[in-house]
């Protein structure tokens, strides 16, 4: 066991981790931040995406110890202090971009990363960017639409909500 400290959503947090403890596990079990989800054990599903020092990372691919001293941002830190959803979260609600909600934290964190680097992506770029995020519920239609809308593009011509 060793002691690991990190800044999570702007707050200093720390806890003990084994050498094999994954960042996803550390966030969920040690820090109690259960918004980050674990949907696979082969780093394929993207439910666990968080930002580490400003970069989107699948938190199941990183050891907690490797994140010692890092600046982490998770789904819990996306809304404003008073709970108001940010523009991307709001677009997901407006366009029904989630159903069961399990893939959603990873989708939001991954999409936020896309929009940071590519503020007005094409549909194809959005779909390509989501290659590492699996959703079983939505058929992706409304997720792609929500991300396009969050980027300020007109989605009114896209069929149905």
């Amino acid at each position: 066991m060793s002691h690991v400290s990190m800044t999570v959503n702007g707050k200093q947090m720390s806890g003990d981790a084994e050498g094999r403890t994954l960042l996803s596990q550390f966030l969920r079990e040690t820090l109690g931040l259960t918004g980050t989800h674990v949907g696979c054990d082969t780093s394929q599903c993207g439910a666990c995406v968080v930002h580490v020092d400003g970069v989107a990372v699948k938190s199941c691919t990183m050891l907690a110890m490797e994140a010692d001293g890092a600046d982490i941002s998770t789904i819990e830190g996306q809304a404003a202090e008073d709970g108001t959803l940010n523009a991307l979260q709001q677009a997901f609600q407006d366009h029904h971009g989630l159903q069961c909600g399990f893939c959603t934290p990873g989708m939001i964190m991954s999409a936020a990363d896309l929009l940071k680097n590519n503020p007005t992506p094409t549909e194809a770029e959005v779909r390509h960017h989501l290659e590492g995020n699996i959703c079983r519920c939505t058929g992706y239609h409304n997720i792609v639409k929500a991300i396009m809308a969050a980027s300020g593009q007109d989605v009114s011509s896209i069929a149905a909500e």
Partner: protein
């Protein structure tokens, strides 16, 4: 103008706020004080006899509390099967024992040999590796037809063979069906496989058992679509715990798609071990475990024949299906290839004679049970593929051939025991033709060809039976449960309502759509209504969510309970207004006396019910809470017409979906946004089945596609935007909302459209290909083109 309130409106989903901000409450987010963790040691061979299990070294490892094996479960019940099928000869199906932990034999890769409970999950996992199992490996039974051959190795030694049942439907019709084939002008025959799938809800299964010695109460937190069903099956048949001592909680559940209906051994184990150890015991499945322990879906091998007369009218259908049950009978497994499949073989067509034969087979593979659509996708796929093939053989337009044979008069009694109450198949096809731009197809094909690609258009129809189901009917068909639904409507003193429903939401958005119905009935704002579900201590006995039944059955129960509330509030209002009850009207949340300006608000009446100072106590009780159980009179029959356009790269065989259109008739629609989303998701899964997904076993019973590296889940770039429409609406005639259910339609209707389109594309390129099995992978398409 779209409505902004009540039935037909699309308010934003209230559950989204917690899911979008990371504050959902999924089962794995729950931790019970002092919980221990279990790791299951699973068989890595498909079939073997357990000679000895030595747990001595493992038991001594750090943190280990106890290691359980099959011996600990002698005298404990097995996992029950909830449906009994009777075969062609009147005999009951063969039903093997299904122990919680393997006893004597392991029967599939993933079967639980032992369970290690330890202080941490890592300790449990480490100790499991130290268990020594002496196993005599036996030949694995994998292929269904080989499993039925004389002298085949038996999966269950105490059964007479690997045949679970040989079902004929309708058996008495067989001679007439055979005669119709003799007399046919044309017969089209097709052999196909409905590929085996893994449901893969993104949330893996989780179970936490807890026991309170002080009260003797057990609690199970589990990722279930139907917590009451789990309470009944596990309590009554496995562990012998009466309902009042057992609480089952299924909180936020991250998708189900059928595979979270069933009662699983891990749930029984955690509940049992919690009592044995006096510690809460938690199990969280890894995805790798999910692939080899969640019930799989589909896996039918079918030969279908369609007989037509000289005018191209369908005269008879005959099918021969082998359906894989896997190694044990999962909860509803026997019903899927029979009553959820055979009864749908008429499809949208007035074929007068139908005979369906299904042989259900035990193999050394993971149990197979319902997956989104359950039996209906299998029926639709074979029927819509054989019709397409017939159209090509006869040189007629596939849409015209379908239209010619559509059922047009309702109610319509099919030759396969169900009666469609309502539908308009020309209407949905008309709607499809509008949204899919068929007239522009030739130009699009030319454009594809100019780029060296082949383009195909595939169309099909579907019908499904959902809103499952009338209890007396399913009882006759072998169900060991009723299929009603329940709701308790509790009105609080200040007028807000809480609905406790037996339906369960795992993505469907009931917390948003159910209040829309009540808001419409009473004329109040939806924000005054809260939905509680997923906890057997709160909601009355319910049957849960599957078979697109929540609104049709659960919503109907809620309507009935609300009607009782309204009737009672009208009595109270009549008293307060000193008027006759018959003259009281409720509109926009206000009770008024017809023809006068006297009125009293909803909140004043509800307050009077709890502060009954001026109240007709001699006639009615105080309080405002009503329960209703609703048992439907029939199934509901949603239907639709789907179209898919594909491009095939003749160099590689790669298929891309260029466009997908779906026109559905769901009857009345409460929340169009949610309905569209359900269809999108179903289409995504259907495209996954058609193009990508396959649970493949090798001849030794090893699952080859056992992770997301090998099992191809559809990704965002595999699918296009979908064009969906539900403007064609023929309301269900027998439930109070006129709703039919929309959860499975997309998964039922889409696979044949994709494969029909691929065949169309290949034929347009001069390839004499009349079928490619799903998934239509590049290698299969390329092989078909170059055969």
């Amino acid at each position: 103008m779209p409505k902004d309130h009540g039935i037909g409106a699309s308010p934003k989903r209230r559950e989204d706020v917690r899911f979008l901000s990371g504050t959902g409450n999924y089962t794995d987010d729950i931790n019970v004080n002092g919980q221990a963790y279990v790791h299951f040691l699973r068989s890595d061979v498909a079939h073997g006899r357990i000679k000895t299990i030595n747990t001595d070294a493992a038991s001594a490892m750090p943190g280990v509390l106890k290691i359980f094996t099959g011996a600990d479960f002698e005298g404990v019940g097995g996992i029950p099967c909830g449906w009994q099928v009777t075969d062609r000869h009147g005999e009951p199906m063969q039903e093997p024992a299904h122990p919680v932990l393997a006893q004597g034999k392991v029967r599939y890769v993933g079967d639980q040999i032992a369970a290690v409970v330890a202080e941490t999950v890592e300790q449990a996992r480490d100790a499991a590796e130290a268990i020594e199992v002496d196993l005599e490996e036996l030949p694995a039974v994998v292929d269904m037809k080989a499993a039925l051959a004389d002298g085949a190795t038996k999966v269950h030694d105490d059964l007479t063979s690997n045949l679970c049942y040989d079902w004929g439907f309708v058996e008495e019709n067989k001679p007439a069906v055979d005669a119709a084939f003799e007399a046919a002008a044309h017969v089209t025959t097709l052999e196909l496989r409905n590929n085996r799938l893994v449901a893969n809800p993104m949330e893996p299964r989780v179970a936490i058992g807890d026991f309170n010695r002080g009260t003797g109460d057990s609690t199970l937190y589990t990722t279930s679509q139907n917590p009451h069903v789990i309470r009944l099956l596990m309590g009554a048949f496995v562990l012998g715990i009466p309902e009042h001592k057992l609480r089952v909680v299924a909180p936020d559940v991250g998708g189900g798609f059928g595979t979270k209906i069933f009662h699983y051994a891990e749930e029984a184990f955690c509940t049992f071990a919690a009592k044995a150890l006096n510690r809460a015991v938690k199990w969280t499945s890894t995805r790798s475990e999910a692939f080899i322990s969640d019930a799989h879906g589909r896996d039918h091998v079918t030969k279908i024949e369609l007989a037509l007369d000289a005018d191209n009218n369908f005269t008879a259908i005959r099918t021969d299906t082998h359906a894989n049950m896997g190694a044990y009978l999962s909860t509803f497994a026997p019903s899927v290839p029979t009553w959820l499949h055979g009864t749908l073989m008429a499809g949208n067509y007035k074929t007068p004679l139908i005979y369906v034969n299904v042989k259900a087979v035990f193999t050394n593979t993971v149990p197979v049970d319902a997956y989104r659509g359950a039996g209906r996708p299998e029926a639709t796929y074979q029927l819509e593929r054989v019709i397409d093939k017939a159209a090509r053989e006869l040189g007629v337009d596939p849409i015209a051939l379908r239209r010619q044979n559509f059922i047009t008069e309702f109610p319509y009694a099919t030759p396969v025991a169900v009666e469609y109450d309502t539908g308009d198949y020309h209407g949905t096809m008309d709607a499809l033709e509008k949204i899919a731009d068929f007239s522009g197809f030739e130009a699009r094909r030319k454009d594809s060809e100019a780029r060296g690609k082949l383009r195909g258009l595939g169309v099909n129809c579907y019908i499904e039976a959902c809103g499952i189901a009338p209890s007396n009917l399913v009882g006759q068909l072998g169900a060991r449960a009723g299929l009603y639904e329940s709701a308790t409507v509790r009105v609080n003193a200040t007028g807000g309502l809480v609905v406790m429903t037996g339906s369960h939401s795992h993505g469907q958005g009931h917390e948003t759509s159910f209040p829309q119905v009540i808001a419409e009935m009473i004329g109040i704002d939806e924000s005054m209504v809260e939905i509680e579900h997923g906890d057997t201590d709160k909601a009355p006995m319910g049957m849960g969510t599957y078979g697109s039944r929540s609104l049709a059955v659960g919503g109907s129960a809620m309507v009935r309970a609300t009607e009782k509330i309204i009737a009672k509030t009208k009595k109270i209002a009549a008293h307060l207004l000193e008027a006759a009850e018959a003259d009281i009207e409720l509109k926009d949340g206000t009770f008024s006396v017809a023809g006068t300006d006297k009125s009293v608000a909803w909140g004043d009446v509800t307050l009077a019910a709890y502060v009954p100072h001026n109240y007709p106590l001699e006639d009615i009780e105080p309080g405002l809470e009503e329960t209703a159980f609703y048992d439907p009179a029939n199934f509901t029959y949603p239907s639709g017409a789907y179209a898919c356009e594909v491009e095939v790269d003749p160099e590689t065989g790669k298929v891309t979906i260029e466009a997908f259109s779906a026109a559905d008739d769901f009857g009345n629609v409460v929340n169009p946004m949610i309905v569209d989303g359900q269809v999108h998701g179903g289409i995504g899964q259907g495209i996954g089945q058609a193009l990508l997904e396959n649970a493949a076993y090798d001849e030794n019973g090893q699952l080859l596609s056992a992770s997301y590296m090998d099992y191809a889940m559809p990704r965002a770039s595999d699918v296009p935007y979908y064009n969906v429409d539900h403007s064609s609406q023929t309301p269900c005639t027998h439930n109070p909302l006129g709703v039919k259910g929309c959860g499975e339609a997309g998964a039922i209707g889409s696979p044949p459209a994709v494969v029909n389109a691929v065949v169309d594309a290949l034929q347009s390129g001069g390839h004499k290909v009349d079928h490619v099995d799903m998934p239509v992978s590049p290698s299969r398409v390329w092989a078909a083109m170059n055969a």
